[in-house]
Amino acid sequence: MGWLTLLVFSPIVGIVLLLLVPSTQAKLQKRIAVICSILPLIMSIIVYQQFHSGADLSIRVPWISFGQYPFSFFVEYELGVSGFSLVLLLLTAVLMIVSMVTATMQIKKGWKQYALLTLLLEIGILGVFASQNLILFFIFFELTLVPMFLLIGKWGGMEKERAAYSYLLYNGIGSAILLIVIIVLFANVGSTNYEAIANASLSTELSMGLLISLLIAFGVKLPIVPLHTWMVRVHVQAPPALVMIHAGVLLKIGAYGLMQFGIGFFPASFQDIAPVVAILGLVNLLYGACIAFVQKELRSLFAYSSISHMGIVLLGIAAMNEAGLQGAMFQTISHGLIAALVFFLIGVVKEKTETTYITRLGGLSRTMPLTAGVLLAVGLASLGLPGMSGFVSEFMTFLGIFESMPVIAAIGTIGIILTAAYILRAVMDITFGKEVLAQQGIADLQGKEWIPVSIMLGLILLIGVFPTSLTHSIQTSVEAIVLRIGG
Amino acid sequence: MTVHAFLLLAAALFALGLFGALTKRNTVIVLICIELMLNAVNLNLVAFSKFGVNPAITGQIFSLFSITVAAAEAAVGLAILIALYRNKATVQVEDMNEMKG
């Protein structure tokens, strides 16, 4: 079976156990869900160990065959990891624990179903990062669709159903395009194995067409302006515990896909459209920042902030050199942690003060000093303060993009200032602003709430101070991609 | 006499039948028009079996089948019409509008 299979399907343990527990025993359910969400982390740590000790983790089992000889098409069940996907697996496992802990505090009704769906979602996400076969990738990719739809639609805010539909349709279209790309590749190459496709020779026009389609498909997920409106809606409407996963890892599938498939499969064509990607990244970066600057509501502000940060990922990818790619990967992970922490805090604040409007949250540092402090810290991480993960990624990304496209890079640096502007504006107005929060006796961060905070903040600092902890794993991926680019 | 004349006649008959089936208000007449269309087919078959490229009995046998089936169809159609009439007391086609949209 292999460790990877065990890892990907380890959430099933939780699902089964939860199903066995009668729905009356809420406390037991919560305990089981949290404990079971640790299982994937253990598995992924084992996988991490194995990977770095040089063990061959990949599995390949025949699975589906279409057509008969000599016109047959085979799909294998193939799992494997690269350095980057390994880190993403770890990130998923960590964020899932954190999100589950958060959910135990913030999800009130229908807890069991929530946990079941989240665990199902986790299988999808883990599978996406672990698969080495496009069909398998797609199946896992789509597997996230239904749980997300139900989670948003059932546990979301006022406009939850609209948000759920927006999610469904945008992602549906995105994955539809992806599916076409996959099957065109399948039909042309005869296999959907990553390596086989990467080594296949396709005509220039075909690979350009496929690449552009891929860009759109993953552009929805990432998201790339103007395909982003769904994501803002989801960020605002979905329960914060879910947004932690959504912003933390689900959106990262877009970045992963662009790097793994976009550059991995079509390096030459990507070289040709790299300027376009860079401009898209620039637009994302600046547009997101500008809009974030005038938002009045925390969740939409950080939604636009995510868009802006994904712009940096795009810039890194467009750089097509070691520094840029490594920066993009770093940013992917760093933003995953930061966004998750931000939305955890928003969840806490929303839970306790029942509002997320910046103007109504003034003076938070009086009522909830610790929350305010952590919010400030994560805000600083988000604006790329050295010592935190955001800086390393921004630095490397700009290092990369300056080499290949200095002008775009120079314009992009405006984003750094804008980011600081909107983050400070929001954080300062909230934590230090005019004291609007009249309610006394609002509890600050306490007890269990420190678990998510300390895990995520710890990781953000760890990556910021010792970036080698990540480069260690990521570099193999970067090198593999750079090798394909031929640089 | 070439086969063309028969073909034209059959085509005309078919068109007439179709036109009738689409325009007549009375369901019975509509069913009869459908019979007309089927008979156009029979005419074709018989004509081909006599004047066709490869004259053979097959066409006539085919037309026998066709006639039989047409009869069955008409019988079933009329039976259903009677059931409908029992419930709604109408044989007008345009009154069958319970379901739409």
Binding site: F293, E403, A409 | M99
Partner: protein, 625 residues
Amino acid sequence: MTQIAWIIPFFPLMTFLLCFIFQKREWHHLCSRVGIMTTGLALIGSITVLIGQMIFGNSEAVISWLSIGDTVFSIGYIVNPLNALMLVIVSLVSFLVHIYSKGYMAGEERLGTFYAYLGFFTFAMLALVLSPNLLQLYMFWELVGLGSFLLIGFYFHKAEARAAAKKAFLMTRVGDVGLLIGMILVFWQVGSLEFSAIFQAVSGGDMDSGMVTLVALLIFIGAVGKSGQFPLHSWLPDAMEGPTPVSALIHAATMVAAGVYLVATLFPLFEASDTAMLVVAITGAFTAIFAACIAIVQTDIKRVLAYSTVSQLGYMMLALGSAGYVAGVFHLTTHAFFKALLFLAAGSVIHAAHTQLIGEMGGLWKRMKGTGWLFLIGTLAIAGMPLFSGFFSKEEVLLAVWKEEHYVLFTLGLITAFLTAFYMFRLFFLVFMSKKIIPYKRRKKIFESPRVMILPMVVLALLAVGAGYIHTGWFGPFLGEWLASGNEYITLHPHEGAGWLMAVTTLLTFLGIWMAYLMYQKEKLDRNYLSEAFPGVYEAVLNGFFVDVLYQRTVVFATKCLGIVGTWVERYVIQGILHFIEDITILVTKLASKLQNGQVQTYGAMVGVGLVVLLLIGLMQGRFF
């Protein structure tokens, strides 16, 4: 001995961690002690390193921090005369400020937090100074900015403090972006960010001259932001919203000097480009006189000092831009001491008078003699009174400018020297001398500050007087020789004291003092004459030439507009397109379902139409018509 340098920053970091964890009220007395102790240790360490450098020379050590492909970015430390000196200045001022704060901040509710922030800042500043490469420097450059931000906004319940903190962070960040770009460009030119590698590349001619100029200018933007040079200066006066010890430490002695330090550190790079040097000099000179002008009319004691700081930093830039490496560093050193002294003394005044407005002070000399004397020493030092440290360093700066034959800039420098003496003594007279302004009742409550505050000032006062003698034409240019000894890329210009220059500056200083005396003490001259004659100009100067308003109206406004336009686009264009698609779908649905009218003959007709259309198509395909 120099090998211990890397430990030094970790002492204050310990303050940060300890005070952050034990920030509850009952631990406050420990916080200040821990803070003082660790900075004391840092000071001892710094002095050791300084001595060590003098004896054993430079040393450097790095460890790998981040690798991209085959490129390795490292962190570590370097010890050379310049940063050994900076190390001592920073840890000394920090140490004194820590002590001073114990008195000044007594009774503060969030004392633990305050010391934690101070510790954090000191840590970042020391690490910045020790940086052996641009990346590390940049990282701590940002972190000192954070420390400054946190401390400016320490009284966050005041809206002005919040705004000032935000402004400080953002405006310096504008500069930082320049530095970042410059740094990255350097990397792609040189392949490394180590200072030594950069200098080698520059001196070896590996970078073409245009690139050198570009890089130098970009890096200079960073320095402009941090050191409050025009046009990114306006955050510094606002930063006075922070507690006064903070102003002394960060916004007078250390962080704002980091820009100057940066230019000095990268001096070989700047020197390789005449354009860059000229820009640095012009910016410095302009800032110097520009800020001095504004300082004259300010009514807030700390703002006067703040503009004075800006002006003095301009002086240092002028020196560096005129190839006066030693002069710049020298002025940096002396300025650190006397400006810290002035701020601490001002803090002492504020502590006693409970106001920052000069208009509400006056005649404090009697009540606070100690502070008065100390403030006077500082004022004399900054004004360039002979025998005080400011005199020597200022003379050195002007000499350097003269030698570079920047006569216009030289003139500006002279005028600034005069203005400095004038506005500083204006301040002194208004605060300590003039008698009538403070109401008697309030004056009674004013007492001299406690000894814990006075003591650090005394130390600084001694240095404000004595620091000038390390580099004089009379006893020998020790500082210059030493600085040059540790840096192979610096060529020391022979120090030739120009007697006439000394005379001119002395004259100007006295002129300034005299005019201030006439205007504000004796009131022989109408102090309001000019402001009444040119109200518009006065208004402009008072508001710092409306630089802030300009920014508010352009940059901030534009960003907001873009944001609003973006939101609008979002709401009406993107959503509009989506609604359009939705509407079309609904329309099609409606039409199609209208066709589905329940009439069986309609259905049949559709079959018929379909048949006919298909037949037409088919026959057309077969070319039958």
